[in-house]
């Protein structure tokens, strides 16, 4: 049995805004699901309908197999954490954390044990006898998390609980949260606009845009096999490199991909003819066969064959699957060099546009360097030119 199901769930507000457009989602017991998307994508409205704070205008919600679509919040077995969480100022940290248990009528001994356990997990042990105003903002949020997590409801619902915190603290609490959820195995639905947080926390990332679900898969899949251009761009920091191009028929079962062709009319002629990608077997790109001649005028990046029909497409590749290679014919100059600690991102301007390349921190190329780019053929992705859906 699923812990949570949303069936054709709809929400149209009184002003006519259709915030959620008939979404379907089934969540397993113990699963950590993150709803990810930009402001206005419908993620918070979805969470609020799950909590019972908004009533759907269509569709159904079940919790543990029971239809709760029209139940009051208190009648659903859910625990919330919000971005701004008010603590009781006159109660100690211990009393604040124990409060939901006292309300639920838990015996004192059991209560004490449970508070101690959660406090230990969240590193609150030494703060238990302080009042909220004696705590830093980060510690207050930690107490708020503890208060929500002290109870084991059927579902935890979290709306950007780390949103207002400093980056360092957010990373730390992210880890606490994941460890605690893994230990308790409480089904969790978590809302954020931060793709890094989503990737780190989720068993399954649900990417939303315009009130619809674009993709709902484990983080690695969403990252490697984005369902469409929106996901490709939104997930990953920075997002996927994307270039418009055109597939042209090149004999039976083969096509060549010309980069930049589709955009040529709009952007004016390129200083050089655009690089050509060749169509290959099994819809997979393969490496350049030896003997294929490359030149600046006709740079051949890869040879692949495909059964895809001719037409406009978009090529996608993640920054870490582009290598610097002085012998490559796709050449450009490094315009921006972003140091990120564990890696660096070079932004390289080429005749067909700007590519972002992730390199090791020690890489000698830097701003102003001339570099050649080699794309890893196994990691090329193709998207439909008109719909943006992934083709290969």
């Amino acid at each position: 049995m699923k812990a949570v199901t949303l069936e054709r769930l709809e929400k149209t507000f009184a002003d006519g805004t259709r915030a959620v457009r008939g979404i379907d989602l089934a969540i397993e017991a113990g699963e950590f699901v993150v709803l990810l998307g930009p402001s206005g994508c419908g993620k918070t409205t979805t969470l609020r309908m799950l909590a019972g704070l908004e009533l759907p205008t269509g569709g159904r919600i079940t919790l543990d197999g029971k239809d709760v679509t029209h139940l009051r919040p208190a009648a659903r077995d859910v625990g919330f954490v919000f971005q701004f969480y008010a603590l009781y100022p006159h109660l100690s940290v211990r009393e604040n954390v124990a409060f939901p248990l006292a309300c639920a009528g838990m015996a004192r001994g059991e209560r004490t044990r449970r508070v101690a356990e959660v406090a230990e997990h969240l590193g609150l042990g030494r703060l238990l006898d302080l009042r909220p105003r004696q705590l830093s903002g980060g510690d207050q949020q930690r107490v708020a998390l503890a208060r929500a997590m002290v109870r084991r409801p059927a579902v935890w619902l979290m709306d950007e609980p780390l949103g207002t915190l400093d980056a360092a603290l957010r990373a730390e609490l992210c880890e606490f949260l994941r460890a605690e959820q893994l230990a308790q195995r409480v089904t969790t639905v978590y809302v954020t606009h931060d793709q890094e947080e989503a990737m780190r926390l989720a068993d399954r990332v649900v990417v939303m845009s315009g009130g619809a679900i674009l993709q709902a898969e484990r983080p690695g899949r969403v990252y490697d096999e984005p369902a469409d251009l929106f996901v490709a761009r939104f997930v990953g920091s920075p997002g996927m490199n994307l270039f418009p191009g055109e597939l042209r028929a090149a004999g039976a079962g083969a096509a060549e991909l010309v980069l930049g062709a589709a955009a040529d009319g709009a952007r004016g002629a390129h200083p050089y003819p655009p690089p050509t990608l060749w169509g290959g077997r099994e819809n997979r790109p393969i490496d350049i066969p030896s003997g294929v001649r490359e030149s600046r005028e006709n740079p051949v990046l890869h040879r692949l064959s495909t059964t895809l029909p001719p037409g406009p497409v978009t090529l996608g590749i993640r920054p870490e699957f582009i290598a610097l290679d002085a012998t490559s014919s796709l050449r450009g100059r490094v315009a921006v060099d972003e140091y990120l600690g564990a890696s660096r991102c070079l932004h390289v301007d080429t005749p067909v546009g700007r590519w972002v390349v992730r390199v090791a921190p020690e890489e000698p190329a830097t701003r102003g360097s001339e570099v050649g780019l080699r794309l890893d053929p196994a990691h090329l992705r193709l998207f439909h030119g008109a719909t943006g859906a992934r083709l290969a």
């Binding site: 980056a167 360092a168 994941r178 606009h193 890094e196 983080p219 690695g220 920091s237 993640r318 564990a342």
Partner: protein, 350 residues
């Protein structure tokens, strides 16, 4: 660093009994970007306001372009400040908001000059199509562009930016960060940029100043501060995941864990008897070590996977390739690269 354009020396600022700045030192070269990185309450905003002349320091001096400006009013300093909350006039058009700094008393620019500057800035920031729109009808990203435009239009000698991207969506923040740094570099105007976001600090700065409780804990180029943090507090402020900090004692030429005696890595000759070892997650290999660790949590970060493992009585973070197949409960043998280890005083002090 080139000849310093801005020098902050021993600046102290108190508000009643509270000391917001406790002797801050900061130096910025011509055309450089200095990032002040710190948590909420570290004193970042007070420092910016002091440089702008909106706060008067209780002690210390400020030198701008070779001139002592400590006691000069904001106007005389010719710096532009951009706030986190944009501070636009909501009912004014974008054009009026952009022109506002140029209409200030004492500027007396001709109307044609104002129009030309507003148009120029709007083109640079790609907001020409928004010029007639009211500020309140803009999206967050658009407001942020207008706020920056209002700073640009004055052509100041120095930009001061107070977490200008904090209120935006993560994805937008990333795009604007790049735009901003490209723009400021192209203009060649120096900038002091305040943030709590370590990715912004690492990627934008020529020099990072890590600020904590009104003091600069460390200042230096991003790589130096990232790779050789002077104290655990600096290490905590930079890097995601945070740097591992392992309590260790030296047994001959080897560091062993204080907790359970697990050998950690080779110790340099002359190392102290006890220390806190700092090592970045990407400098711990998942194999090749002599002692086992148990994988507790795995996180997919996209380009890498982050491993949290139980090792030597503590939790150890490793950043490894995604092709490595791991699962919670699995045993690995972490190898700490001794060349990358930083040693701190055993009590964590500087």
């Amino acid at each position: 660093m080139s000849a310093p354009f801005l020098t902050v020396r021993g600046v102290v600022k108190r508000f009643g009994a509270r000391t917001a700045l406790a002797g801050v030192e900061l130096a910025l070269g011509a055309g450089e970007i200095a990032v002040v990185l710190g948590a909420t309450g570290a004193g970042k905003t007070t420092l910016l306001r002091t440089i702008a002349g909106l706060e008067r320091p209780d002690a210390g001096t400020l030198e701008l372009d070779g001139r002592d400006v400590t006691h000069e009013p904001p106007r005389a300093r010719d710096v532009a400040l951009v706030f986190q909350d944009f501070s636009l006039y909501p009912r004014w058009t974008v054009r009026a908001n952009l022109a506002f700094p140029l209409r200030a008393p004492g500027r007396s620019l001709p109307a044609a000059e104002i129009e030309e500057r507003v148009r120029g800035v709007a083109a640079t920031l790609r907001i020409e199509h928004l010029l007639e729109r009211d500020a309140r009808r803009l999206s967050g990203g658009e407001m942020q562009r207008v706020a920056i435009g209002r700073a640009l239009v004055r052509r100041p000698r120095l930009f001061l930016m107070d977490e200008p991207l904090t209120n935006l969506d993560a994805k937008l923040r990333e795009a604007l960060r790049l735009e901003l740094v490209t723009l400021v570099r192209a203009l060649g105007t120096p900038m002091v940029y305040v943030t709590h976001d370590q990715a912004e600090a690492l990627s934008m700065a020529d020099r990072i100043h890590v600020l904590d409780a009104g003091r600069v804990l460390q200042a230096g180029p991003p790589r130096e501060v990232y790779l050789r943090p002077a104290s655990p507090a600096v290490a905590r402020a930079l890097g995601s995941p945070p740097m591992n900090a392992l309590a260790a004692r030296r047994e001959g030429a080897t560091w062993v864990a204080e907790a359970d005696g697990t050998p950690l890595c080779a110790a340099a000759a002359g190392a102290p008897a006890r220390a806190l070892l700092g090592v970045r997650a990407e400098h711990v290999a998942p194999a090749g070590g002599t002692h086992p660790a148990t994988v507790e949590v795995l996180e997919d970060t996209g380009p890498h996977q982050l491993v949290v493992a139980r090792f030597a009585g503590t939790r150890l973070h490793l950043l490894v390739g995604r092709d490595l197949e791991l699962a919670p409960g699995r045993t690995i043998h972490p190898r700490i690269d001794p060349a990358r280890v930083v040693t701190w005083a055993a009590d964590g002090s500087t």
